[in-house]
């Protein structure tokens, strides 16, 4: 018989820790909350201790890691908010909805800061295309899902990258990045403070969809995963568009103390994160939460990952004002609880208290931390061996060139970005297909350049050097477009951290990224970690995706990579 705690994904040691902290056994609801919140996806328990290596501050960093998104100054009182997020496992099972809801989630992170989302990018990995119907199905579905959501939201998808390699066959990677524009004094945080202030819920009703999504993202994909179907959610971009406009309008009123999206681990995550940041507590009543399905029990309401929902902490007495604005956008808002002055997350079902836990203990700051043993893979030296001399020179260079150009990893990606509306909002000065995308910043002379990069083959052969290369490749792309690199967001996709090789790859990669970012003066302002990207057949190549933003002081001075005119001089720069 499996223990109760094992059923929610906790280890014996972790369970003992909970009992000690509470001074009692947790009840079933509480245990489930720990289960999802201490999942790898929510708690970063295997990665957090490495984050200290990242350079995360600098004169232009207005918000580093730890919030819904990072924010970097671009002058003129304006700033850029950005973050990247993975949605790998859902996309492996339902590519369209998996990718779509990934985009939806990252957009919410950006407008939760008060920023207007202005661009989307993505980074995708699949198995080899040739003759593989399943991989083609995944690629088509993922691209359509990204397009479906972003296009409907009216946010241009301006860049991205895709690679095909067998290590991703059973476990594709779908990382979505969103970039927002914000005025310095409009920055909002996900904080619940001010005793008596109201906790309000806006957006879609809560259903049983996505229950256990965070744990699902924190486990190895198996045949059985197919059965974890409830973990797949359906996106509603129209609802999110309304939510976006409503939230941005609300934030202008000054009635909002804090705002947080309901993403992985749903309500419980949003509640304990905002309470922890506010250094207070919170009471909520699950009966007040709008529901889509009947018969839902408190734990289901607390951990559901239904999409397109936000939590607002509203100044007491101004709830009606919030209702009015929300209503204008065709949505509903309800008060589900209030901020308290103790440090507890107290959950009511009507009058009855059904759970009471120190908020901080659920949050990643209270979760366990692991620094596993690490060692390079035994076959690394073998892998790294390459005798250039042993490779014969191709006899027919033109046919070799043609073959190279036709290979999916090198070929034009127009088939993909033609499906993304990359021009809406008419700011896209350099469109997909060049080194980096460039957007003008309306009302200024400035622009920003955006790119995502990672060569995971390099990272497989040498995670530290490969990760450095990812940073400098991104920087070169920015520079070639006319920008000065100013910050990155990183999407760290790895196999299991619980094997010495897995953790070694992760560790090396973080050290490499840190070193390169320090050297390039591009602080890490946000990011995401996705572990357990593996199947029974093995782990993916380490894939630390770098999303970089660069600043262009004068938007009239940008450059694209195409040759312009016959007779122009070609210069090879560098060593």
């Amino acid at each position: 018989m499996t223990n109760q705690y094992e059923a929610v994904g906790l280890k014996a040691k972790e369970y003992e820790g909970i009992v000690e902290m509470l001074g009692r056994e947790p009840n079933e609801l509480e245990l489930n909350l720990y289960g999802v919140m201490w999942s790898e996806h929510c708690s970063y328990k295997h990665s957090r201790s490495m984050f200290k290596h990242f350079p995360t501050s600098g004169p232009s960093v207005l918000q580093g890691p730890g919030e819904n998104a990072g924010i970097v100054d671009i002058g003129d009182g304006l700033a850029i908010a950005m973050k990247i997020e993975s949605h790998n496992h859902p996309s492996a099972i339902e590519p369209y909805q998996g990718a779509a809801t990934g985009v939806g989630g990252i957009i919410r992170d950006i407008f939760a800061m008060g920023a207007r989302p202005i661009a989307l990018l993505n980074s995708l990995r699949f198995g080899e295309l040739e003759g593989d119907a399943r991989v083609k199905y995944l690629l088509e579905g993922v691209v359509e899902g990204i397009a479906g959501y972003g296009n409907c939201m009216g946010i241009p998808t301006v860049g991205g990258e895709v690679y095909f390699n067998q290590s991703y066959r059973g476990n594709p990677l779908v990382n979505a990045m969103c970039v927002g524009l914000i005025e310095h004094d409009a920055i909002h945080r996900g904080t619940a403070s001010g005793v008596g202030n109201s906790i309000m819920y806006v957006g879609a009703a809560t259903g049983r969809d996505g229950i256990g999504g965070a744990s699902f993202a924190s486990a190895t994909l198996t045949e059985e995963s197919e059965e974890k179907r409830a973990a797949v959610q359906v996106g509603d971009p129209f609802m999110e568009k309304l939510l976006l406009e409503a939230c941005l309008e609300l934030l202008k009123t000054g009635s909002i103390i804090g705002i947080q999206d309901l993403g992985a681990a749903g309500l419980v995550s949003a509640c304990c994160e905002t309470a922890t940041r506010g250094e207070g507590g919170m009471e909520i009543d699950v009966l007040k939460v709008p529901r889509r399905e009947t018969g839902m029990v408190p734990v289901e309401v607390m951990i559901s990952e239904s999409q397109e929902r936000m939590l607002l902490i509203v100044e007491r007495g101004r709830e009606e004002e919030v209702n009015e604005i929300v209503k204008k956008w065709g949505l509903h808002s309800v008060i589900i609880g209030r901020v308290t002055n103790d440090d507890k997350l107290r959950i009511f079902e009507g009058d009855k208290v059904v759970g009471e836990i120190p908020a901080e203990s659920l949050d990643s700051s209270g979760a366990p931390r692991y620094e596993p043993d690490y060692a390079p893979p035994a076959d690394l030296a073998e892998l790294q061996k390459l005798d250039i001399e042993s490779i014969p020179e191709p006899r027919d260079l033109s046919s070799t060139l043609r073959k190279l150009l036709a290979s999916p990893n090198i070929a034009s990606k127009e088939w993909i970005y033609r499906q993304y509306d990359h021009m809406v909002r008419t700011n896209t000065v350099i469109k997909p297909g060049s080194d980096a995308a460039v957007l003008r910043i309306r009302g200024t002379k400035k622009g920003i350049a955006l790119t995502t990069d990672c060569n995971s083959r390099y990272c497989y052969l040498d995670p530290r050097e490969g990760s450095k290369i990812a940073v400098v490749e991104a920087a070169r792309n920015i520079v070639c477009s006319g920008g000065k690199p100013i910050a990155i967001t990183d999407g760290l996709n790895f196999g299991s951290p619980e094997t010495p090789e897995g953790y070694w790859q992760f560790r090396e990669s973080v050290l490499g990224l840190s070193e390169a970012c320090r050297e390039m003066d591009t602080p890490v302002i946000s990011g995401n970690v996705s572990f357990y990207n593996q199947t029974e057949k093995g782990s993916i190549h380490p894939t630390p995706i770098v999303g970089m933003v660069g600043l262009i002081e004068d938007i009239s001075k940008t450059c694209t990579m195409a040759f312009k005119e016959a007779g122009d001089i070609i210069v090879l720069l560098g060593q």
């Binding site: 359509e144 397009a147 479906g148 296009n151 409907c152 939201m153 009216g154 509603d236 971009p237 129209f238 609802m239 568009k241 309304l242 956008w329 065709g330 970005y417 033609r418 499906q419 993304y420 509306d421 990359h422 021009m423 809406v424 909002r425 008419t426 896209t428 000065v429 003008r440 309306r442 938007i555 009239s556």
Partner: protein, 226 residues
């Protein structure tokens, strides 16, 4: 001139049109919320692109019933200029202000690209600054831009000069390569491509600017070009 841009929930090219008219062409321009009644005094109403009401049933199907559309219909029947771009075109066909319907692209995919358009009729309030037969480059961005219409109506539209733009390289399977049409009265027009995305030098293309300039020219009492 005073332009009104209707904002439906889910509209997302509203601001693009707004900036072109205001900043590039120095016109008076105002947003009109879908729940408002249409006020007096507009010289031209634009229904912008986007995904009104999510376009979940058929594109434009729900938007036709919004409050503002009652006024737009009256305005159109009285001869006022109404332009539907992309989703706006879909709304105008659903509302019965333009003939035909727009269905899923033949290739089933959403297409975002810049494509050659032929000005098939310069004698209209929307095309008078172009030359008949002129080929311009205009962006498209749609999943359901495949125009269908029965043969009788099509023949009539041809004789009456209602087909204003055709695709140079048909991207979506549209009947007769149709990209933009107007009604018989030539005061209501719909087009799938986005001239507002091609009206600014910084974005590398100004072929769409004459579309708006045509409307201005017409409103100023200028002659149509034939």
């Amino acid at each position: 001139m005073r332009f009104g841009i209707v904002v439906f929930p889910g509209s997302n090219c509203d601001i693009d049109c707004y900036y072109v008219l205001k900043d590039e062409l120095q016109q008076e321009v105002e947003y009109i919320w879908h729940e408002e009644e249409l006020k007096e005094g507009f010289d031209c109403i634009i229904l912008p692109g986007g995904f009104s009401y999510g376009d979940y049933l058929r594109c434009g199907a729900v938007a036709q019933f919004s409050k503002v559309m009652e006024g737009v219909k009256v305005y159109a029947h009285a001869g006022g200029l109404v332009v539907g771009i992309c989703n706006g075109f879909q709304i105008l066909t659903e509302a019965g202000l333009l003939p035909g319907a727009l269905v899923r692209n033949k290739g089933l995919k959403f297409i975002c690209d810049t494509t050659p358009l032929k000005v098939t009729e310069a004698n209209s309030p929307f095309t008078n600054q172009y030359q008949k037969g002129e080929v311009i480059q205009i962006p498209i961005a749609h999943g359901e831009g495949n125009y269908v219409v029965d043969e009788v109506t099509l023949a009539e539209m041809k004789t009456k000069g209602q087909i204003l733009f055709t695709y140079g390289e048909n991207p979506n399977g549209s009947t007769g390569d149709i990209a933009g049409i107007c009604n018989e009265g030539k005061n209501v027009m719909g087009l799938m491509p986005h001239p507002e995305r091609a009206s600014e030098a910084l974005l590398g293309n100004v072929d769409g600017k004459k579309f708006f300039q045509s409307i201005m020219h017409y409103l100023e009492g200028g002659k149509n070009n034939d």
